[in-house]
Structure formats: structure tokens, C-alpha cells
Symmetry: C2
Subunit: 424 residues, 2 copies
């Protein structure tokens, strides 16, 4: 059996007909290399935003099922156009909408989760050599309505299809050429990683290296789908290529299981995110049950609390408690806590959005001591105060004042030996 | 059981959100009047053209199934937005795509015909008081792909749904307020008809009074669906209304069976079309079989021949033959005949696009003699030469030089007593 390959292209890659033809060229290359190909595409850039705007204009609070009917039209357009472009290049192809495959979802319209991908019909066609052009971002809910997966859901569609088709690999084409050790806009010596484990990628993705949607990486990890992040803007038949002619595309970064990564670095990357806000409760009672009285109401309001630190109580009775929530939820979080003021018991509530969470990530730190210590020392040497610290098996995160973002990221990148000495 | 009503709105009626809200107001009015409502809508004006342009840019010759996937997205957007707008006004509503109902079609993608409308689920919901917002122009073909009905197909969708739901009436909202005795742009004294029979409407529609798609009228006739043509731009709650408040909409024109039309006029209207071209073959052999040798190849090329006239042969051996074809097919028709020149045998082929077909239409002419004679005399009095004549049970058509169009239509409109003397 020929190797099956899933390719995924986002909205900017199919923004107009020239780019759609460029995508078709990428697909044709893989077909000619002997792959059976399924290609998952997003809506043409701008389309989804226009459709979302219309639904909001129609009503501020709208039926999510109708929202889904409207916004899923974007992918319906792009798959049809790509199928036509492929046929025009002599490549057998047909478009597949979510309900045609079907891609079955739950009924959480607007942010549905994929329950199952029925790959029977799809597999039959690609076995016959026909490229399957699949609408990303959409499926069909138990009541027979179109359901969308939430913004960026096309990555998840691609991984789910790759798992269902038992694909050798899922190539995610994007506007960057891979995953870097950190943000190259901050550190010019950032290195592109050849490989990164699912676990590390999850930390990188959720921490602001927005190359892949978090859910898609989780799904890839569960189903052991190998993900290759690569650039769709490398002209597939550019003469500046490697000289191997029309088949050149940069290799990008492979996201895979740890077992595929032979030489594991202790630290793989430095991530940062400005999407968290800090809340401090002054003079909370230092007694059992107080944490539950604070975090219970927040959980009920579906607000994710990330980092938590409780100062040592000076008098054994009152202490200060600090934690972080997503910036978008800050206002709501403060309201929830103020409403619970009497049951919690605190003197004052402070909030701060002028913070950044910087993280050192690496599977290798499981077996290497001293990673956290090096981080704290490096930041201390630069005079950077650590407001909150949290750790997991494969990462150490600190919350610092936002003004130190670049300084901290550059210092840590050097300290862990990640700088690309060949770069400028 | 409450009376079921199907309402249909075209692209200009849903061109933007303000107009979609206007449509919702029309629907709400009918719901409040006690109707069970299904509303069929086209794509927002301009959307379908944009989508068609893209498919053409992607490939001049494209897979009709992919074309259908792309262009049907337009109606998907408008039904979702209208459902949201209705809900916002407190009217229970949901959108239905062709495949969800389903509306089953044949496999003639791009110009499919409706095979069946399964009204079970639809009927159940509207019995519960939920407005069904149905995507026009689309259905699902036997292979499970989206199929479109061809331009203007939403009228046909509406009639098919009305037939399946056993609707009391199908209201076609359009940018004119009814069917007129002739084109009001030519004859200021044209009168709006209160009622017109299916047969007459078919002649009016196919002859250029482009209020309703011909196929939709045929379907309405077969299933005896009463069609009301009315204007969507009468503001439903305009104070200039009849004073009956929010329920005012102009009555428009009812297209129905003859039996509903008590006082049948002899002539109902004067239609004209510039969509025909004339071909004349000079000195064709005047012998059996020659007509077959001419019209056989044209039929094989799917070119519709409309009017035919053969001059009396002067010598019994050679004659001239004139016929009309759609302007769009003229070039092809001439090629077909030139290719068959040897088998047909003619001296010269002439063509002329500078012609117009003017028709006098009326069911009453079945029982009244002299209708054709009055037409010929009226045109003769104005010095207009008749190039070709054809008649049917309910119409008389003549082909004349295009420059006489307005003169002929006005003279005939007066001659048959159709002028509205109250008008300017």
C-alpha cells in the first residue's frame, strides 16, 4: 500500500486563486512522489471574519447552530476551488464537506469536538488515486446540523483525518517554516528545531508559540500522528531550492513521540505569553478551606487559574495569595471574587495585566537537575524579580514584569546554549 | 390545521443585513397572521456572481460538482443570517440546507432538476410553529453531492417546497409589485394584472417578462401551486400603507389555474424578446426531407429552433427558409449548418440579430376569433413588416425589425384595450 499523507493549509495559504494554485502545486508534488493524499484547507483569509461579523450584526446573541451554518460556508468555497485547481493541473481530486465524509462531532456548536471520522468512503477514493480535498473546521453534529470546531480548528480536522486514514504523516503548512527554540522576532539567534516532542510542543503552543492549535497537538499525541510543520510559501519549484528541482520544500519541524528523538536536548525552547493577568488578594485568612472558597467560584465560572502562589503567613492568621487567569477573563474573575468577598474574607483585591509568563521547556529536564536553578540565577543576574513560579515535569515558568520580556528571553536562550552561532 | 405558506425572497431582497431584517419582518407578519411559514431565500446579491467568477478563474472548464459546492455556499450564508434575524425578533426559526431536508435532484450538476422534496422533517417542525428557512437553488444529487438548479432556481425550490408541504400559496417576493400587461418601461399605461393563468404566465416568462423562472411556473402548473408575485420593497409597516398597519403589503399578481379566473380577458398581455436571432437559407431544395437535414443537426447540437417559415417556391425546385434560434446560440447554429452544407444544399446563409419577437398572449383567444387578424392589421397600419409569424393556442408571435419594438408594443397594447386610462 502506498503511504498516505495528510496536508493542511491555512487561510493565508488559500487567500486568493494564485495561492490556491500554489497549494495545488504542493499537492501535485506529493502525488507525484507516490503518496496518497488528503488535503485539509481553511477558508480563504478574510472570509471567516466577514461571516462572523455578519452573524454578530444579525444579533449579538445568536443561535450557535446558525452561526455554524454561516461560517462553515467559507471552507465549502475553498475546497471546491482547490479541487478545480487540482483537476486543472491534471490531478484527480474531489471536495469533501464535513457531513459528506462524515466527520462526526458532539453538539457543542461553535466549538465542537470531533467524536469520530468515518474514513471508509474517503479511504476508498484515495486508494483509487483521487486526492481528497477536505473542508477543515467543520463536521456534523448528532442532530444533523453543521458544527464548527472553533477558530483554528482546521489543524484539529487534519490530525483527526490523519489518524482515521492511518496516515504516515500530517504536514501542517503555515506561514512560518517550522518551530523555533524561541520567538525569532526577539532572538535573532533562535534555531529552527528539526524535531520536538508532543509534550514540548503542547507547552510551546499553549504558551504563545502559535504555530499549531493546542487541541490538534493533543489529538496527535493521543493517536500518535506525526506532525510536520512547514512553510507553504517556499515556492515548490523555486530555482533557489536545493537543486532537487520541483520537489524542494523546506523540511520544517517534526512533532513526534519522544522515542523518535534520539539526541534529546535538556532544554528545547524558551516560550513566553502575555495572555495572563495577575490577581492578588491581600490579607486572606490563612486557614484550611480558603483556597476552595476562592477557586471554587472561579471554576464554576469556567475561568482557568494557571499559576498560584501563597506567601508565608507572618502572623499565622493572614496571608497574601496571588494567581493568574487569562487576560480575557480578568474582569469576570474580579467580579466573581468580589461577589464571594464575604465567604472568602480578604482585605483588598489587586490586579495587574502588565506581566509576562516566561517558560523554559524540555523533556530532558526530567533527567537533569539544576534546570530551574539556572533559570532563577540567570534572571537574578539581570536584576529581574520573579513574581510567581510554577513548575511541571517538563517546564519551569516564571511570571515577571512585562518590560523585561525581551531581556529575559534572550538571556535564557543563551544560558541554555540554544543560540545559533551561525546566525547573525 | 393552520394554513401553510411558502415565501420566497431573491438576492436583492437579502442583499445586506438591513434587507434581511426587512425580510424577517415580512415573515413575522405572516406568522402573526396565523400561517405556518417556510421561507426560501437566494444568496445575498453579488455573492453568487463572485463565487461563479472564482470558479471560472480557477479553470475555464471546471467540474460541475465542484462548481456546485462553491456556489451553493451563498445560500448557506443567507439562510443562517435570516434564521438569526428571525430569532432576534422573537420568531422561532431554523435554517435548512438542501441536503438536510433533503431536496433530492438528478445528477445534472449546475442545472439539476428536483426529483423529490421529502417534507417529513420539515412539516413536523413547521407544525410545531417553527419557521423553516430554506436554502433555495440547491439540493442533493444521487451521489450525495450538492447540486444547484441553475440561475434563478430558487423560484423552483420555492414551488417544489410549496407542493411538498401542500401549501395554500407560494408568495414570490421580487423587486416588482406584480405582473403587468406589458413592460411598464415601454408602455406607461401598462396595468398590473390581479390574476394570470399558468399558461399565460409561461408565455410571458419565456418571452422576456422575467418575473418568474419558467421552470418554476411549469412546476406550479403541474402541482397546482398558487403563486403570488409581490414586492419585497413595500415596507411591511410603512405608514403610507393602506392604513391596516403593519400587515400591509401590495397584493401583487396571483398566478393560478384558469378556473380561478372568472372574467377572462381575450388578451392578457403583450410580451417581447430580443433574445432571438434570425437565420435565412437562400435557395434550399424544395423537396421532402430537407427540413430534417437542417433541423436534425441543430437538435443534435441542442439548439432550440423557435419560429420557422418557408417561402412558397417560385419554380417548385428552390425556396428560401427562415427560422430563429437563441442569440446566444447563433454562432454555433451557423457553424452547424455550414458543416452540413453538402447534405442540406443551399446557396447562401444569412443571419440577423437586429430583430424582436412580439407576442400577444391570452387564454381567451381560444374562444375568440380575429385576435391574430387584429394584430396583423395594427402592425400594418404602423407600416411594420412581419418577417416571421408563429401561433399557438394562446398566443400569436411575430418577428419584426428591432427598431419598431416600442412602436409595436404600444400600438398592440392600445389595440387590445389594455391601456390603464387612469395612468399618466
Amino acid at each position: 500500500m502506498m503511504a498516505r499523507l495528510v496536508m493542511k493549509f491555512g487561510g493565508t495559504s488559500v487567500a486568493d486563486l494564485d495561492r490556491i494554485r500554489n497549494v495545488a502545486t504542493h499537492v501535485k508534488r506529493e502525488v507525484e512522489a507516490g503518496h496518497q493524499v488528503a488535503v485539509v484547507v481553511s477558508a480563504m483569509a478574510g472570509t471567516t471574519n466577514q461571516l462572523v461579523t455578519w452573524t454578530k450584526e444579525a444579533a449579538a446573541l445568536h443561535d450557535a447552530r446558525e452561526y455554524d451554518a454561516v461560517v462553515s460556508a467559507g471552507e465549502q468555497i475553498s475546497v471546491g476551488l482547490l479541487a478545480i485547481a487540482l483537476q486543472e493541473m491534471g490531478v484527480s481530486a474531489r471536495s469533501w464537506l464535513g457531513w459528506q465524509i462524515p466527520i462526526l462531532t458532539d453538539d457543542a456548536h461553535g466549538a465542537a469536538r470531533i467524536a469520530d471520522v468515518d474514513a471508509a468512503k474517503l479511504g476508498e477514493r484515495i486508494d483509487q488515486g483521487q486526492v481528497a480535498v477536505i473542508a477543515g473546521f467543520q463536521g456534523i453534529s448528532p442532530d444533523g446540523r453543521i458544527a464548527t470546531l472553533g477558530r483554528g480548528g482546521s489543524d484539529t480536522s487534519a490530525v483527526a483525518v490523519a489518524a482515521a486514514l492511518n496516515a504516515e504523516r500530517c504536514d501542517i503548512y503555515t506561514d512560518v517554516d517550522g518551530v523555533y527554540t524561541t520567538d525569532p522576532r526577539i532572538v535573532s539567534k533562535a534555531k529552527k528545531l528539526d524535531k520536538i516532542s508532543y509534550e514540548e510542543m503542547l507547552e510551546m503552543a499553549s504558551l504563545g508559540a502559535k504555530v499549531l492549535q493546542t487541541r490538534s497537538v493533543e489529538l496527535a499525541m493521543v493517536h500518535n500522528v506525526r506532525l510536520q510543520v512547514r512553510s507553504s510559501f517556499d515556492a515548490p519549484d523555486s530555482p533557489q531550492g536545493t537543486g532537487s528541482g520541483s520537489s524542494y520544500v523546506g523540511p520544517g519541524t517534526l512533532v513526534c513521540g519522544e522515542e523518535e528523538i534520539v539526541e534529546q536536548e535538556v532544554v528545547s525552547g524558551i516560550a513566553y505569553t502575555k495572555d495572563e493577568a495577575k490577581i492578588t488578594l491581600i490579607k486572606v485568612a490563612d486557614q484550611p478551606g480558603v483556597a476552595a472558597r476562592i477557586f471554587g467560584p472561579l471554576a464554576d465560572a469556567a475561568i482557568n487559574v494557571d499559576m498560584i502562589v501563597q506567601n508565608v503567613s507572618e502572623d499565622g492568621e493572614r496571608t497574601d495569595l496571588t494567581f493568574t487567569v487569562p487576560v480575557a477573563d480578568l474582569e469576570r474573575a474580579v467580579s466573581v471574587i468580589e461577589a464571594a468577598c464575604d465567604t472568602i474574607g480578604y482585605e483588598q483585591i489587586l490586579s495587574d495585566t502588565d506581566v509576562v509568563k516566561v517558560s523554559v521547556i524540555g523533556i530532558g529536564m526530567r533527567s537533569h537537575a539544576g534546570v530551574a536553578q539556572k533559570m532563577f540565577q540567570t534572571l537574578a543576574d539581570k536584576g529581574i524579580n520573579l513574581q510567581v513560579i510554577s513548575t511541571s515535569e517538563i517546564k519551569v515558568s516564571v511570571l515577571i514584569s512585562a518590560e523585561y520580556t525581551e531581556l529575559a528571553v534572550r538571556a535564557l536562550h543563551s544560558a541554555y546554549g540554544l543560540d545559533d552561532e551561525a546566525a547573525a
